[in-house]
């Protein structure tokens, strides 16, 4: 039991289960899964499906954060890749043609990769601070996307393209399989080769790892390229979900959700040791929190406060120092309640 509690994923998982429990208590239908037209249907399935873009972005963000960096441009990169893909499909006039779709998807991914390479170049080669370097694309990216879509929301009608985010395979959403594949690929590359350890080494002490013979430049560049590519794919999923390239709204503020997911999963923003499993749990936590707002019927005006309060609570629960402090305080309070002390209020 103690070993389970000491595991670093213990508290993130507890938080996720607690959120699901709160929803279920408010409405038991939250955990019910029914079969609808040969596929599974329910809130939990919606969470699996809708979390896919955030999952891809957060995986890339984990790698970048492990190198002691940050990628603020992911949302804008999503807008660019979606705009590129949909504009190609729309301009072709043949939305169901497989080769057109392959070109569109390939171009969208390439656009994402190119954005990532650009970020990596600024950071790893020119030595610009990550927050500034990626801020450039965060601001410019949406402009580029708007330029591509000519200021409009590009819409298409294409069943194969729609399948990416809205299709089902063996009862489960296709987008969920995309998440799984991305998790597996990143995990294998990082954990079954030395790359993960080298990434952590660069994140913990770039100078020491360079002196030890680690090619920090290539590893950092690679992390941003991976982040860009994953964000590019997330952009395709986003556009496939609504069958439209919305340059202004695609991936808006997703960089913040991704950073939050990484942190909730127990990866430190200071770089170094990272946990992919933690990030996965973090992503599901955030997505569940979003459905919680609808499920509990939190009024829109207080939604940001509600979100913030839950996040603060979650982060506190995960802090071992805070837990110890609460434990001690709880002990002291139970002693004190035996002999109540009169207190005077002091107006501030």
């Amino acid at each position: 039991m103690n070993a389970v509690m000491k595991h670093r994923l213990f508290w993130p998982v507890v938080v996720l289960l607690a959120l699901i429990l709160v929803n279920t208590l408010s409405r038991p239908s939250f955990v019910s899964i029914t079969v609808q037209d040969g596929r599974l249907y329910g809130s939990l399935i919606d969470i699996l499906r809708n979390s896919a873009p955030l999952m891809l972005v957060a995986l890339g963000m984990t790698l970048v954060i492990a190198t002691r960096g940050i990628d603020l441009s992911v949302g804008a990169v999503m807008a660019v890749s979606g705009a590129v893909a949909l504009q190609i499909i729309q301009d072709s006039g043949d939305a169901a043609n497989p080769s057109v779709l392959a070109v569109a998807i390939g171009a969208g991914l390439l656009a994402g990769l190119a954005c990532g390479l650009w970020n990596g170049f600024l950071i790893a080669v020119l030595g610009i601070q990550p927050i500034i370097a990626t801020l450039v694309l965060m601001l410019a990216g949406r402009g580029i996307a708007l330029l591509i879509t000519r200021g409009f929301i590009t819409t298409i009608n294409s069943d194969p393209y729609k399948f990416m985010a809205q299709g089902y395979v063996v009862g489960l959403p296709f987008a969920f399989y995309v998440s799984l594949a991305a998790i597996a690929i990143v995990a294998v590359i990082e954990r079954r080769t030395a790359l993960g350890v080298l990434t952590e080494a660069v994140g913990i002490n770039p100078e020491a790892s360079r002196l030890a013979g680690v090619r920090a430049r290539g590893i950092i560049w690679g992390a941003y390229a991976a982040s860009g590519l994953l964000a590019g794919f997330a952009g395709l999923l986003y556009s496939s979900n609504i069958m439209a390239a919305d340059a202004n709204a695609a991936g808006l503020y997703i960089e913040l959700d991704a950073i939050l997911a990484v942190v909730l999963g127990g990866t430190s923003l200071a770089g170094g040791t990272f946990s992919l499993a933690g990030t996965v749990v973090g992503v599901f936590t955030i997505q569940t929190l979003k459905s919680t707002i609808t499920f509990l019927g939190v009024p829109p005006a207080v939604t940001p406060v509600f979100m913030a309060a839950v996040v603060v609570l979650v982060v506190l629960i995960q802090s071992s120092r805070f837990r110890r402090w609460v434990g001690r305080l709880g002990g002291r309070l139970s002693v004190r309640s035996a002999q109540p002390v009169e207190r005077t209020e002091v107006a501030s």
Binding site: S43, T155, I242, D246, A249, T294, P300
Partner: protein, 334 residues
Amino acid sequence: MRKRLLAGLALAGAIALATTGCSGSASGSTGSTGSSTAGGGAAHKVITVGFAQTGSESGWRAANTQSMKDAFSEANGFKLIFNAADNKQEAQIAAVRSFINQGVDAIVIAPITVDGWDDVLKEAKAAKIPVILEDRTINVSDPSLYAAWVGDDFKKEGETAGAWAKQNATSPTNMVVLEGTTGSAPALDRATGFTAGSAGAPITTLASQTGNFTRADGKTVMEGFLQKYGNKIQMLFAQNDDMGLGALDAITAAGLTPGKDIKIVTIDATHDGLQALADGKFNYVVECNPLLGPQVSDLVKKVVAGQSVPKSQTATDLSFTQDQAKTALPSRKY
């Protein structure tokens, strides 16, 4: 090496400029309603107008910008200096100041925010340049700081949608609402208008959440509503087309038919919205007209000629049923 890089950048910039220039002039050919030459005599003098647009945040805005560019064309006797402020008020105020320095004949502003306009408008008044507001309104200490306002009446739009809901809710009806961005004027006014328009109808609002005026959020929130209430939902009021369009997929995925199992009323009447209406997926759409150009250019002519104009004018917002959408779609510009 560095020189070559710079040269490359300059070339890329030139290409970018050239391409944007092309797309601008190519689409400028769509004929605008020239409107009556209001100035009376001597209308041959070219009127220079500075237009400070908010930015390019939506399809509505793009259509609005295009309408303004068409109306203030050279053929109509105008020289338009266009500025889009990327939704930053300080950039917009700077643009207005530069219009004043350039000595334009009139300034048109689509204000980004309500407050903070006093100083720059006083400068315009001192320079004897009339200011006309488009789309949104402002708060100023002295109303004479601007000549007139033209825009859409969000409250009226909500009322029209509400009146339709009332008419169609003959039996007790459960409704869900997708609200716009929390605290924005269209979201607030459309909500107030809808409540007023549907007053007395047997409509129960099960839930009301913000979908931030976007398709993706509209879809996610609608999914949540459907998981929570299932087939109890009979009506959806989406405060703009985009959120309604996003909700369509969620409704289909829940095994319900939009337009039949759930009646949908939205506001905006974009091309995609009307298409959904014509396809029978929406039931009623109220227009929020972005084509304000002709009305604004008419006003500018009158103001420059020294005629008196009404302080506020609202655009005529139509509304569409499914059949009306089918007839209106082919000639729809946005």
